[in-house]
């Protein structure tokens, strides 16, 4: 079996303790649920000397306060899936499998490492490949680029959090800060979330959705369980009568950066009928350029953006009782 080696484990008692340990330990890495990090270590993709376990340090609770829902980053994905908070709960309920959702955390899923078929492999496999831009090489095996890594961000929760307008509460050596999630995501497979060294995600803050908002999420997979998405879509809408009062769509699992579709405000005040549905779906297709860093035909994944967006919106109309 694949065995790990070369690190020690320290447990943090509080976020502050974790950040302090990070500053004082050699080659540190944070570990919450471990379901994403341990496969990485087993494949020898990273060689930390210190694993800082933050599971006990992070809050696992939901706190509702003035306009915000504050979710502890240590909340298990199984608990997130049981929240009354669409589409985040739906998205969490589709992560991998029950065992992973029991151990994996919301924070870990937001910070999920990007994935690439040329990178997430054993050392022997990567040696045979001759390395890639991200590991032991200087050329991206997906694009041939010498500059950017296009590993895919496959988090199920991130698109859902994007349409919810979530913020992240971070704690770093310089203290806490709160930043909109959308501002932290970047198109870089090696640094897909723009955190400063040592920063720890402590909470996910979700603005309380409008009482009339309806939302949904779906993912494209081969199997009914276990798989990472080949495409992930979250939508949120609000209708004022039959007219759109709010519309947000996020697309993930196509590149290093999940995105909110721009330009949707132009549909506000309109009905969501076939012409609008077609135009929105077409716009989603147009703005989505999947990378070949994960399995699944590129054109098909792109085409499915159109299908999934349209279907989710039609579903929202149904759920919202909009004619």
């Amino acid at each position: 079996m694949l065995r790990m080696r070369g690190f020690s484990v320290v447990q943090a008692d509080s976020p502050e303790h974790a950040v302090a340990l990070y500053g004082s330990s050699p080659d540190p890495v944070y570990l919450a649920g471990g379901t994403d990090l341990l496969p990485t270590l087993k494949l020898d993709l990273r060689q930390p000397r210190t694993v800082i376990a933050v599971g006990r340090a992070l809050s696992q609770d939901r706190v509702d306060q003035a306009g915000w829902i504050k979710l502890g980053a240590g909340m298990s994905l199984a608990r997130v899936a049981a929240l009354d908070l669409s589409p985040l709960a739906q998205a969490a309920s589709r992560v991998a499998a029950p065992q992973i959702r029991n151990a994996g955390t919301l924070g870990g899923n937001v910070m999920l490492d990007t994935r690439c078929r040329y990178y997430n492999q054993s050392r022997a496999w990567r040696n045979a490949l001759g390395g890639c831009l991200r590991a032991q090489g200087d050329l991206c095996c997906v694009t041939g680029s010498t500059r950017s890594c296009v590993a895919t961000q496959c988090s199920d929760s991130v698109p859902a959090l994007l349409v919810l307008g979530a913020h992240l509460r971070l704690l770093g050596p310089d203290g806490p800060r709160q930043v909109p999630l959308v501002d932290l995501l970047q198109y870089d497979g090696m640094h897909q979330v723009d955190l400063k060294p040592g920063e720890l995600l402590t909470h996910v803050l979700v603005p309380k959705p409008h009482p009339d908002a309806i939302a949904a999420a779906d993912k494209l997979t081969v199997r009914g369980a276990i798989d990472f998405p080949m495409l992930s879509v979250a939508v949120l809408a609000r209708f004022d009568g039959d007219l759109l009062a709010d519309l947000r769509i996020a697309i993930g699992a196509v590149s290093p950066k999940p995105r909110l579709l721009p330009g949707l405000n132009s549909y506000l005040g309109q009905r969501l009928d076939d012409p609008q549905l077609d135009a929105i779906a077409q716009g989603a297709w147009k703005r989505t350029r999947p990378q070949g860093s994960i399995a699944g035909d590129l054109d098909w994944r792109r085409q499915m953006t159109r299908v999934m967006v349209r279907r989710l919106l039609v579903g929202l109309k149904g759920a919202g009782g909009v004619g």
């Binding site: 079996m1 080696r5 570990l31 341990l38 499998a97 065992q99 081969v222």
Partner: protein
Amino acid sequence: LAEPPRPDAPSPRPSPQGQLLTLRVNGQDHQVVAPPTWTLLEVLRLRLGLVGTKQGCDKGDCGACTVLIDGEPTLSCLTLATLAQGRDIQTIEALDRRVARAFEAAGAVQCGFCQPGMIVSAHALLKRQPHPDESEIRAALGGNLCRCTGYTKIITAVQAVADGRDPEPGPATPGFRVIGSRQRKRDGLGKVLGEIPFTDDLTLPGMLHGRILRSPHPHARILSIDTSAALKLPGVFAVVTGADLPKPYCVIPWTPDETALCTEKVRYVGDGVAAVAAIDEETADAACALITVDYRVLPSALDLDTAEASDTLVHDTDWKGRARSSNCCKDVKLSFGDVDGGFDAADEIIDHTWFYEGNSHAPIEPHCALATWDANDHLTLWSATQVPHYLHKTIADVLDIDPASVRVIKPAVGGAFGGKSEPFDLELCAAALARKAGRPVKILYTREEVFLAHRGRHPMELHLRLGATRDGQITACEDDIRIDGGAYHSFGMVTTWYAGQLLTGPVDLPAYRFRARRFYTNKPCCGPKRGHGTVQPRFALECALDEIAERIGMDPIALRRKNALPSDSQTVNELHIPTVGLLACLDAVAKASDWEQRRGKLPFGHGLGVACSMYISGTAYPIHPNGLPQSGVQLSADRSGRLTLACGASDIGQGSDAMLVSVVSEELGIDPDAVRVVTGDTDRTPVDMGSYSSRVTLMCGLAAKEAATDLRDRMIAAVAAEWQVPTDQIQVGMGTWFDRTQPDRQVSVTDAMHLAERAAGVPLVAVGAYRTHKLGGSYQGGTIGASPAYSTTAHVAEVFVDPQTGQIRVSDVWAAHDCGRAINPTLVEGQIEGSVAMGYGEALFETQRVDQRGLLLSPSLLEYAISTSVETPRIHAIVIETPDPAGPYGAKEAGEGPLHPIIPAIANAVHDAVGIRLRRTPFTPVDVLAALRGT
């Protein structure tokens, strides 16, 4: 390379990084010392001896290592042990056995390897939701992969617990005592509770761990290997290279083209080059990294066209040292009947090229071998193998030792499906390293190595023509097949023959010719996967039949009925088919699926499709044609009334041990619990060839029946003598025998044994065997494909095709299989369900492919998708019995035949649903959409 073994070699030292952990496991605090890098799985298995928790995939993709942590199913392989301190850990060993018992009773335990994890998940579900519905069960078990059952009986078992049902074995078939009753597998509970060990569960004092260094190149010449740095690494005990094991071998003795480790060339990425034995896997890994190999990289042949062009030769010479000029390693051409005349007489001819993608067995248990040499220089090798006998022969041959000094033991095997049916490098290397190190050596494949070892389904390109008259009479068939073999031969010679030979039933082909050519390529070697050699051509033929039916406007079931071979017939290529249950199978699936009312009448996107097949029950022509029996059984009585049955048969989860118990119990009226089975141990059992080609029920079953009948007759004679009545007056009953003229005159089976032993004056022992009959055609090669009996199968698949996404959902499969006689219907259904699920995956998503550098694209159970409980269709197994004179009680095979029809049945259902023809597996959404655009 290494020092000769020193008797005072130090014991393995604890890891220097070890730290004291206190873990609360199964209600007790345990203090263990383990490195901080160890997962809970490693501590449970290696420190606490709780081997019920299994390791299948290395990294959280399969669920076999599931335990409860604070009551929640959690993957112990993704949990650092040190972080599990202070939490309540429960493993399968300590769980309430209610769920495990229900699994065993329902037939949900085949190999038993994924089951501990599965049961843990089921246990947690039932605690949370005592009355789950089917979709809740499927969702809760979605993270636990099972390769044997198709999840059908697992769902039944969970429902049985929820309903408080306690399944009974049910009655025997009328006229029998035990045959036909749903006997539980008596090793089921022991396997799922960790009591019956799998190979990796075994540990020996002083045991070392081996690792194999593998080639990074698809094709290269080895210029030099330097192992000196590896040998100097503390904790390394021995290194071997190809030079230590130069003798070529192959499971088929005519084609010895591989060596345990490469000697001159490497032929695929992953070909073994050197092996290391060290105190632990981590050190062995580190030592492999210190071995320097100089290669001269050669051009490679990674596809059929390049291979056929033969500009680059995968093998420079054949096994006789003759220079090769082509990569074609087998070329078979045969013709039967008037093929051209048949096509001339046809009103419609279907003429297309089909392509069947390669795929792998992916058993949840990775291959594992453990070797040790005793003070008498005798080798004992435990291995997860389907073929202890062939392994015995090969290991003696390659290690150049007396076969009489070798003992091969097959512990419980966690799924095989053909993927463990020949010797592998790990067995030979473990034995060689153990000899060199003077210590026991275990080698466990990583999941990636399981895919590299492969021997899976061959990719095949099939150009098939099929002719028929307007009224639905098939007139001729022609098939030109190119087979992508990978780097070595394996069973490839047989594959090539089977691909052509086994297509001539159960639909009669009155004239038939084929050419099948197998090519070497620089890829992991293909071999026998469930339905060896024939799943691919069957796909093409059954799709072609559907197309013919469409052209002539005939119902596809009616077309198959019209052309069905009758029982006791001879195919055009001279195979004698004693019984054919095709009509009964077709009737059963037509009725169950409501075919007449629904097929062709469902809305767009929703369809039904049919297909059928035929498969061998063992091969008349043994791999080593030496005139010796193919299977032997020895029965010996203990004075307690217990019988011990010894047979070389290899139970790999299919339940052959249980089958043997049923046969003996039937013949002697002995309680099944009083029959002990010793199998898969070459020191203790008569030879059996192993579990392949669906031979075990027929051949071992007949051998057991012969032994039991002999024993019974001697016991009857002794009882008759005691009672001074004619022998035909003795009636065998369950547990008690009696005088049929005076039913109250009785004797227990135990007393009858005592009478027989007393009469003979020697211990009560009986033997039986299956002796190969001469069967098959009169032409060269005519014996290949000849079997004593053939099973038949028909499937109807119901599909929903999403015309926008191209995705295919298979909701239901009705699978009727004629197994001749169901000795144990639960086990037969299990084989049908598992076959359907495996074929379903092959049809829709399983692929074993390499990229342009020869690198495997799916070397893990995350990337190589095997179906989960969530999307696997509902499978309705229907057992059809057409008793065959060749088999025990009429039994034929059930393990492989039922896989074939599902792939074409899905393709044909897709046509019914949306009007497209899919001629390439797997049926991807991209291909569906492309075909839809083309219509």
